[in-house]
């Protein structure tokens, strides 16, 4: 693995990102506007349902952050397909892990910027988050890690299924979020759904966020999140490696890019 090649890919992703105005919309416009909407909801509900609105607002920040980290990685791969460029990238001798790592680093850099903006909006307009920022940082780090893992999983699927499945980049996360039950405590769900939620990449994370906001313990959720994320990481690494090699054998890679 060569650092110079990974740096070159990050630089390339940055230039492509700057040129893709629709991705700026995804990064700033949608998350910030939805936070403003939920922020006003939190102010209003604060009058009669104390923490409910605040909870919805903070969960929304996590949800947006998870989406940005994951989709930035997968959209960078999609852009190579859309612009018939991956051939060119791979014949430079770049390896599949360098290719992936470049995308992960770029995504983490750009999504950190996004997170800072979202937290600033929450802090300046809606409520003081300074008191819980340390606990939140742990969960934001875990969210980033989990989203990277999910992006590797989706990249593997994309290589296996081919160019027609580019939509996985922006549609997959919604499925995992749905079964992670972001806005409702897991205890209110039937047992089977609780098991499903706990097995989802973000199920324990959202439970942890809710616990922090309600002043409860959250360490158990952190531990479970790490366990689930590492389990997904093993599957994702296998799927990415298999998918990459499979697409080169089946000819899908040549057709995709």
């Amino acid at each position: 693995m060569k650092l110079s090649r990974i740096k070159a890919l990050v630089y390339r992703d940055y230039l492509i990102f700057i040129k893709s105005r629709w991705r700026w919309l995804e990064l700033f416009y949608f998350p910030i506007t939805s936070i403003i909407i939920w922020g006003f909801f939190a102010i209003w509900t604060g009058e009669f349902a104390s923490e409910a609105g605040k909870l919805a607002l903070v969960i929304n920040v996590f949800w947006s952050y998870a989406y940005i980290v994951q989709s930035t990685i997968n959209l960078s791969i999609n852009e190579d397909a859309w612009h018939s460029e991956a051939h060119h990238v791979f014949i430079t001798g770049i390896g599949k892990w360098e290719y992936l790592l470049g995308r992960i680093i770029f995504s983490l850099l750009i999504s950190s910027l996004n997170l800072v903006f979202m937290l600033l909006v929450v802090h300046l307009f809606f409520f003081n988050i300074a008191s819980i920022i340390l606990q939140m940082s742990v969960l934001f780090t875990l969210t980033a890690f989990t989203s990277v893992v999910l992006a590797i999983f989706i990249a593997g699927l994309y290589f296996i299924l081919g160019r027609d499945y580019a939509w996985l980049a922006w549609a997959s996360l919604q499925f995992f979020i749905l079964f992670s039950f972001p806005l409702s405590p897991l205890e209110i769900l039937p047992y089977q759904l609780q098991v499903v939620a706990r097995a989802m990449p973000y199920g324990n994370l959202f439970q942890g966020v809710r616990n922090i906001l309600l002043g409860k313990h959250f360490l158990q959720e952190v531990n479970l999140s790490i366990l689930v994320a590492f389990s997904y990481l093993i599957i994702s690494i296998f799927l990415y490696k298999f998918g990459f090699d499979y697409s080169r054998k089946s000819g899908k890679f040549a057709k995709m890019f």
């Binding site: 390339r12 018939s84 060119h88 430079t92 001798g93 890679f253 040549a254």
Partner: protein, 231 residues
């Protein structure tokens, strides 16, 4: 040492052969053309040489090394595909990105822009370029690493005669300086003008490999050769 060496190469897609027992040797410094009808396996063969496709059986060696195992050898090769990249970046940014990937300097980018007489495109975005300009930029990209072997797939397809001629004379210059050039084409004029040796591929099989001059002596024209082998 051979520039490209292909032995007993097989590739199937959905049960039918796309490449079948392909054996081919390209000498260092050669100007070699791969001729064949649509769907004959030209691009599949190129993709396999470049490791974009994994073969079912057989081996590929580039400058004596297996590119599937020793990826570094790909740094000595470059490629101009039939489908050119459609980047939205400015030409200079597009080329600088690849220069970084190859570890080449931005001075190399400037030199190629000058050599190919496209310095005026530096600040243009990819989508603004004409087909001929895109081809020249793709060629510039393919020369960033000063490749020992340059592989081209339909290098001048769809270009006007003037641009074709410019690209041809640039490729001839490169070949004189020692670059091995391996290209696939349908264009008889192009093949006749450039190639020293020609391989004819049909249904994934190499039917003939011969020096161009011998082919011309035997068949009078490349068109006759094509019609005889391609029927």
């Amino acid at each position: 040492m051979l520039a490209i060496e292909i032995e007993n190469l097989y590739k199937t897609f959905k049960g039918s052969f796309s490449l079948s027992n392909v054996n081919l040797e390209v000498e260092k410094g050669e100007f070699f053309a791969l001729l064949g009808p649509n769907g004959s396996g030209k691009t599949t063969l190129i993709h396999t040489i470049l490791t974009i496709l994994i073969p079912d059986r057989g081996s590929v060696r580039i400058l004596g090394k297996d590119p599937f195992k020793e990826k570094e050898v790909l740094q000595l090769v470059n490629y101009v595909p039939a489908e050119k990249p459609s980047s939205h970046l400015k030409v200079k940014d597009f080329l600088n990105c690849y220069a970084r990937l190859y570890g080449a300097s931005s001075r190399r980018v400037e030199k190629l822009l000058r050599d190919l007489k496209i310095t005026y495109l530096k600040e243009s975005e990819g989508w603004m370029l004409s087909t001929g300009e895109v081809s020249k930029v793709a060629l510039a990209k393919a020369l960033l690493n000063e490749p020992k072997i340059l592989i081209l797939d339909e290098p001048t397809f769809g270009l006007d005669p003037k641009t074709k001629k410019e690209i041809h004379s640039y490729l001839q210059k490169l070949n004189k300086k020692g670059t091995t050039i391996f290209f696939a084409s349908h264009d008889m004029v192009e093949v006749e003008r450039l190639a020293k040796r020609i391989a004819f591929i049909k249904n994934g099989k190499i039917l003939n490999v011969e020096e161009k001059n011998k082919i011309l002596r035997k068949f009078k024209s490349l068109e006759n050769y094509w019609l005889r082998l391609g029927r």
